[in-house]
Symmetry: none
Subunit: 197 residues, 4 copies
């Protein structure tokens, strides 16, 4: 017996099913049927609500992205100190919400999708630039601009690299050690700058 107002419920369920299914398989070679089954609905319904497979993927990416962005925003709200803000971003990147295996695998899959799908690339680009500007904004307050740009890129590359390794179940399985490695990177780089001054 269909009830009104089911749309948001179904959409959310399908997006979560998509993450789960993609995560379990490790790539985007999942079928609409699998996702729909995992969400407990018919494939036709997934279609009805999203208009197509690609659009479901895009919506799923948007979900992941806005989830992450929301987390970062919250982390930044807690402190205005540059170094603390950087830590907030790092902590958020490896937070429980983001570092769930299925989510990590889905992220990696979307990284790949971005290579062939312009919309996915745009989405990822926005996220990348926002993350970068958050990092740079904080870093320029405690380091010369050139160094800030470099360190920001290093942080982002480290996060991505550790993510990949996590997705492949290599490296430390715990977020703590990932966070420590990046934090150490930041500390060492900043300390080196001060030493030179």
């Amino acid at each position: 017996m269909p009830r009104v107002g089911m749309e948001p419920i179904r959409r959310k369920a399908l997006i979560e099913a998509a993450i789960e299914t993609i995560g379990a398989r490790g790539n985007l070679d999942v079928t609409m049927s699998q996702i729909a089954r995992s969400a407990g609905v018919s494939p036709a319904l997934a279609h009805h609500y999203f208009g197509g497979k690609n659009q479901l993927f895009l919506a799923t990416m948007r979900h992941l992205l806005s989830d992450f962005a929301e987390g970062v925003r919250e982390a930044l709200r807690t402190s205005d100190a540059p170094r603390a803000r950087i830590s907030g971003i790092i902590r958020q990147s490896f937070g429980p919400d983001q570092f769930v295996p299925a989510t990590v695998a889905a992220w990696l899959a979307f990284y790949v999708l971005a290579q062939s799908d312009p919309q996915a690339r745009r989405l990822l680009g926005i996220y990348g630039r926002r993350l970068n500007s958050n990092l740079v904004d904080a870093l320029v307050r405690i380091a010369p601009r050139a160094a800030a740009l470099r360190i920001a890129e290093g942080i982002a590359a480290l996060i991505d690299g550790l993510y990949i390794r996590r997705a492949l179940k290599h490296g430390p399985p715990d977020p703590a050690s990932a966070i420590a490695l990046v934090e150490n990177y930041v500390d060492t780089e900043l300390a080196a700058l001060e030493g030179r001054q």
Copy 2:
């Protein structure tokens, strides 16, 4: 015009065509027909020589891997000094052979494949462990064991992270800046260790 002794020629051509095709598309969603056409042969021939799509992929990975390993081996041969050996590995990781866009994209695609294909994972695992032990072997000669392990992981993560970003055409398009960033990481980490002593 069938001539004898074509097998090695065809195998090589098909592997190169696979890299090219995967690189152009950015993922493994390429058809045997596309690869075969790019190699100038019929799809049936690709099957004949490799036995199937997956085996062609695996052979292509092996090619990439052994190419890289050969480069590293050569780089290590030039010097016995620990720091120089590390630089050799980094330089090789971003060398002209490895940092070609198509090759980078193929690597990323294989990273993803490794999540669902046990053989691919095994292959990648061997490479990862070998790379790690090369790095650690050099680092332990100039740093405490714990630090050596951490820095080795940092280097590997940075390389992977910069690779991803390259594959997505983000970040520095030139190998030089990628190398500089990793080299700087090593220098800073090592310097910090000395300062602490």
Copy 3:
């Protein structure tokens, strides 16, 4: 024009189309497309409902087998007299339902399939054993056990042999002469036993 409740209708149509197509060709070298076309649906639908070619074949065998078994059961219900029961089985073996050219050819094709497909063999084994036990059960009531076993085997071999010849359009095209030949065999064998007593 999709209407609900089509599944049983389609399954039946496809099974009948399979018999028809196999019968027309005389072997199992028929394509799913041919069968599907003959059933008036797309090949994809045949896969959807049966999961694959082999499973469609198996379902078709099961259909043939259960059809036959049902006929035998009915034939046995009409009489409890041993000799009459044997006649019932023979009559059923060459009855209008079973002796249709296409059906006969399909049977022969499945006999062959049974040599390479374990499931088909199992299916045929069940049928063979049931037929044999029905014959033996009746025969032991009017003949010594050893003779009963022999005659049962003779009947079965005659039925199969006449079937083959029918499939090849040799021998009598009419069921009547086939039935007469087998009946005569039974009569003569039983008479011989009595004469010897």
Copy 4:
């Protein structure tokens, strides 16, 4: 180093390989490559000598058929007594040469081929008619024509039926019991005729 006069050697080897391969698989779904490999030559050579797969099959049938005919001819040569000649034919049908599993399976496969291939059917027709006339010729000397025809058909059907069962590995695995069953059939039928006279 190719030698002259290889043709008959290769042809024989390929035909035997064909019987072996078909027998092992239980049907005609064998590839030229499999047959050629089993004969120790290249697929191209099989082609060269026979002109095609179908023609190789036909040649194999002819081989089987003439082998059998030769055996029958020899069996008939030993005696002129009608009953003995019938026994000779039966014995030959289940003789060591003919009752080898692979050969039996190949026969069955060719029975099926005869349904779709006119040439195969013609070949089988000739054999069938010759066998029948041999049987009838002997039987008319000891039984009324109508009975002779009937018994001849019964013998042929029994042979075919027991063959099929042998091919499916049902029934007695030993030729002796098959022969006994058919012999018994002949004896009983003939005795019945005498009794009636």
